[in-house]
């Protein structure tokens, strides 16, 4: 087996100076959401990190995640990481197709058995494996076969992480998340619809740098990016505390950039890095653009009530059923009072 070069060696080969390396480490720390005090450790780790093999599987998905990733990968400094990554299989991006592509996948699996990383976007249909196949192989079979020799699995996007849109009620394909099928390997979820590009590359960078998955939350998401809510880091948070809310999308409050809570913002229960990392190379994020957060990085976000229903709205039927409850109460009350009266009549008779 060929010895893969370390990242340090790759950078050196590219003629990057030590100063450039330091800059690279600083920006890497920044995208990994690690404190600047971690920079020396990152430098140390990166110098000796070895280029990993990556296999990317796409199942029931819309390619939005790949789109998002590619938006990030080329122009930014972390593109360098991709120079350091051997993306051996990605049927959307790779030139090879058909048997050739599958052969590449098998070759990568064999060469890097036990060391490679599997990235998955899209959910896996279980109702009928025939709903989604690649090269005649059902998604579930391909996943099982591919992760067998993997070091870790990363579920990219809400579909792979939680079932996403295919898994939404009534879930006609019986779509499930990767984590439901892969139980014997470390699985990291990078949800979002799509996930923030820089978050995708950052978690890969983390794996590359430290050779392991970062710390995860209860939904398997890297804490560095999914550790705080949108609400907690939202620049509009002070308006929430002051009780200044946009009531409609075109009122003065909306124009003045007030809190979007009343318009259904799911920021308070959504764990993601949008508010700080932002999108499109740090340009903006939905709330900054005036739209409430949909909560796309949370499990089952499609089925959690209306996007424009305020978070504190009770999720229950009122009206008729409550009237029914009132009628039941009235009947019980009448029964109780009648029983009381009967008792009185009886006692009066008995004296």
């Amino acid at each position: 087996m060929k010895r893969t070069p370390t990242v340090g060696e790759i950078l050196q080969a590219k003629g990057v100076s030590r100063r450039g390396f330091l800059k690279y480490c600083a920006t890497t720390a920044s995208i990994l959401a690690l404190p600047p005090t971690m920079i020396p450790r990152i430098a140390e780790a990166i110098e000796s990190a070895r280029r990993p093999s990556v296999i990317w599987l796409s199942f029931q998905e819309c390619t939005g995640c790949t789109e998002s990733l590619t938006r990030s990968a080329t122009p930014t400094v972390e593109g360098l990481i991709f120079d350091a990554i051997s993306l051996d299989y990605h049927h959307t991006l790779q030139a090879a197709a058909g048997d050739q592509a599958e052969a590449a996948r098998h070759a990568a699996m064999e060469e890097n058995n036990g060391d490679y990383l599997v990235l998955v976007d899209g959910s896996i249909p279980l109702a009928n494996p025939g709903f989604s196949t690649i090269a005649g192989i059902s998604n579930v079979d391909m996943l099982r076969e591919t992760v067998a020799g993997a070091k870790a699995v990363v579920a990219i996007g809400s579909c792979a992480a939680f079932g996403g849109i295919p898994g939404a009620d009534p879930n006609p394909t019986g779509a499930v998340a990767v984590s439901e099928l892969v139980t014997d390997k470390p699985v990291m979820n990078v949800p979002g619809c799509p996930p923030i590009p820089i978050v995708m590359t950052a978690v890969l960078a983390h794996f590359l740098t430290f050779g392991e998955l970062p710390a995860l939350d209860k939904h398997g998401r890297p804490l560095a990016f999914y550790g705080t809510t949108i609400h907690d880091r939202c620049y509009r948070r002070p308006f929430y505390e002051q009780g200044r809310f946009a009531e409609t999308f075109d009122d003065e409050g909306a124009k003045a950039g007030w809190c979007l809570y009343k318009l259904g913002c799911k920021g308070p229960i959504t764990y993601n890095a949008c508010a700080t990392t932002k999108w499109n190379s740090g340009t903006s994020f939905p709330i900054e653009a005036g739209h409430p957060c949909l909560g796309c990085s949370e499990p089952d976000f499609w089925d959690k009530g209306g996007f424009y229903e305020p978070l504190s709205t009770g999720n229950f039927d009122s009206g008729a059923k409550l009237a029914g409850a009132a009628a039941v109460g009235a009947a019980l009350g009448a029964v109780a009072a009648t029983a009381g009266r009967r008792r009185q009549a009886k006692y009066t008779k008995e004296g």
Partner: protein, 130 residues
């Protein structure tokens, strides 16, 4: 509609994220003076509302010294109007900003020549003499 026109980012009260940051910088300066310990603040990790970053940059202003670094894209290292407080902006080869830091230090580490580079430079210089 006039209200629409006036309701631009500039007119909003700032969202309150700049003041605490300035306070943090102040404390970092104190720390630098007291113990010599430098501080680096990654601006990417902080939530900024529209215009706030620009406001911060404006508030810190421009000092006596600024430097350009050309490695993996350009970088600008500038001392702000407050000595010891540095503004660092890293760009990639496509000239897009990939990192912004405020460093509170006497000299940002990245300005110093690195041993590895000195060694490599010495080798090249030696080659020229030969």
């Amino acid at each position: 509609m006039t209200t629409t026109e006036t309701a631009t980012a500039r007119d909003y009260p700032f969202h309150g994220n700049v003041r605490p940051l300035l306070a943090e910088i102040l404390h970092a300066v104190d720390r630098l003076l007291d113990t010599g310990e430098p501080t680096t603040i990654d601006l990417a990790s902080l939530p900024f509302g529209p215009g706030e970053l620009a406001y911060l940059e404006e508030t810190l202003g421009t000092g006596e010294l600024s430097a350009n670094l050309d490695a993996l894209g350009s970088s600008r290292i500038r001392e702000t109007a407050f000595p010891g407080v540095w503004w660092l902006e890293h760009r990639n080869v496509h000239d897009e900003i990939v990192g912004r830091f405020v460093e509170i230090t006497r000299t940002p580490e990245i300005l110093s020549s690195q041993d590895a580079d000195i060694t490599a430079g010495r080798a090249r210089l030696g080659d020229q003499l030969d």
